[in-house]
């Protein structure tokens, strides 16, 4: 069976070049980078190189990169670490309603433990308002955490504008850029970002590796204690092969970006237009055009439920995801879609198709051919369809 992977926002395959490089560091150059001997030194050198590769992709210095076990840990170190180290200055945090759980739940945890939290709303396209942010800022605000691009609906937030504000007021600015890395240009200096989270497995690097950019001069308390690796911010024997793979993935991503963004945007718009024209009672979630991530398609298909849509797609070899509660084990559908003002009912019927560099025109055509049939079949089964629709 033909298999089409359209879930690149969940994770990506590791680039064979990256995997090959990692193999060498698993099997041959396996030393502990803290060791004095040659086995250690040869790995230390490769780690330094990886640090430079990662830094280069986001316009940082290599000394500003702290490797972590992934985006979730980087988000947690940034937010818990900043909150702890700045507690004397104030205890007010600002984030948005559409952040990834790694940010939102960390902020909520702090809110239960002595901090104040403002959660900014978003508009129906999933965009944070800079005016709302300005209004939310208080004298005791110590941290603003706003994601670059949303992982569900692909909305790209006004990071540069926010950076200007936080810089002026000396408030730490954390940006979760897990979804935008390699898909939007990022320049932490120009954007006035203090803390930036990135993750390897979303850009064809290995799972279990991420990084936190910490602007020179910003002090962050660690979450974990131990061997004092990563300048004491992240103790634990370095995942050297993973880090080296992440470095390589960043290098390759930087090289591809210029051609990949227009390529994916083309596929994306073809898919969006095709779905909108071939299926009735369907709504695009998130913005159109420049404010949308190049690889994100998210639609709500009325009268049917997301998981059954995913299962049906899965049976014909197409991998996708949904904001349906049934896919997450929770009772509520996607907090992102709800924050955008969508009803539970419609949110349950959302479908995310996230594109990657291996996807082709034919993949899109196949989906556009098959999806309407699936929707028809499920709607025939749906008690909501006959009643409500024309």
């Amino acid at each position: 069976m033909r298999r089409i992977y359209l879930d690149h926002s969940a994770t990506t395959p590791v680039d064979p070049q990256v995997a090959e490089l990692m193999m060498k560091y698993y099997v041959e150059f396996y030393g502990n980078p803290s060791s004095v001997h040659l086995y250690g030194r040869e790995v230390r050198k490769a780690l330094d190189e990886a640090r430079t590769q990662v830094a280069t992709l986001i316009g940082a210095d290599q000394a500003e990169i702290t490797f972590t076990s992934g985006g979730t840990e980087a988000d947690n170190i940034a937010i818990q670490g900043a909150a702890k180290s700045r507690a004397k200055k104030g205890k007010h945090l600002i984030t948005s309603a559409i952040e990834h759980h790694a940010v939102l739940d960390t902020c909520k945890y702090l809110a239960k433990n002595g901090y104040d939290l403002t959660i900014l709303p978003v508009d129906e396209e999933g965009l944070v308002s800079v005016d709302e942010l300005k209004k939310a800022i208080r004298p005791d605000t110590i941290l603003v955490s706003i994601m670059h691009a949303n992982n569900e609906v692909g909305s790209i937030q006004p990071i540069e504008e926010i950076g200007k504000i936080t810089k002026e007021l000396d408030i730490l600015f954390h940006v979760d850029a897990v979804q935008s890395l390699g898909k939007c240009p990022i320049d932490v200096k120009a954007m006035n970002i203090d803390l930036l989270t990135i993750s390897s497995h979303k850009i064809y690097g290995p799972k279990g590796v991420g990084a936190l950019y910490i602007r020179k001069g910003v002090r962050i308390s660690p979450l974990m204690f131990g061997g004092a690796q990563e300048r004491k911010i992240r103790s634990g024997t370095e995942n050297a092969p993973g880090i080296i793979g992440f470095g390589k993935a960043c290098e390759l991503s930087g090289q591809r970006m210029k051609s990949e963004i227009p390529y994916l945007t083309g596929l994306r718009d073809k898919l969006i237009d095709g779905i909108m024209s071939r299926i009735d009672n369907v709504k695009l979630n998130g913005p159109r055009g420049q404010k949308r991530l190049s690889n994100n398609v998210n639609v709500s298909i009325n009268f049917i439920e997301g998981e059954s849509l995913l299962l049906s797609l899965d049976m014909i070899g197409v991998a996708a995801s949904s904001g349906s509660a049934c896919t997450s084990g929770s009772l509520d559908p996607s907090h992102v879609l709800l924050a955008m003002g969508m009803s539970h009912e419609v949110a349950h019927g959302s479908l995310r198709l996230s594109l990657g560099k291996q996807n082709t025109d034919e993949d899109i055509e196949f989906v556009l051919e098959e999806l309407p049939k699936i929707v028809d079949r499920l709607r025939v089964m749906s008690p909501l369809y006959n009643k409500t629709s024309c």
Partner: protein
Amino acid sequence: MYSEKVIDHFTNPRNVGEIEEANGVGQVGNAKCGDIMRISLVVEENIIKDIKFKTFGCGAAVATSSMVTEMVKGKSLEDALNITNSTVAEALGGLPEAKMHCSNLAADAVHVAIKDYLAKKSKV
């Protein structure tokens, strides 16, 4: 995640639709939770002669709906009332833990439909 039987009933659901001349109809769940099941049936001399379902919901919701219609079709009302959500799940070779509560309501829908039939009958 899902057993083969679940996948079979999801892919080729039995008894999909609505019976216009039904003498019992039952609906459970709501769109907010993500699962709605509607059962319509025809009872003659205490026997379920025909039954159809319409379901908005996940794979488990569709499969349990399909399965329950097969299980009660041709059965007496007493027998049908003895079939519970967990009997249905068992008949499907089990359901994932997370699906046992919210998506496994098909037997309930059948019970509601039977009660609807009984209520209508007693009014006559």
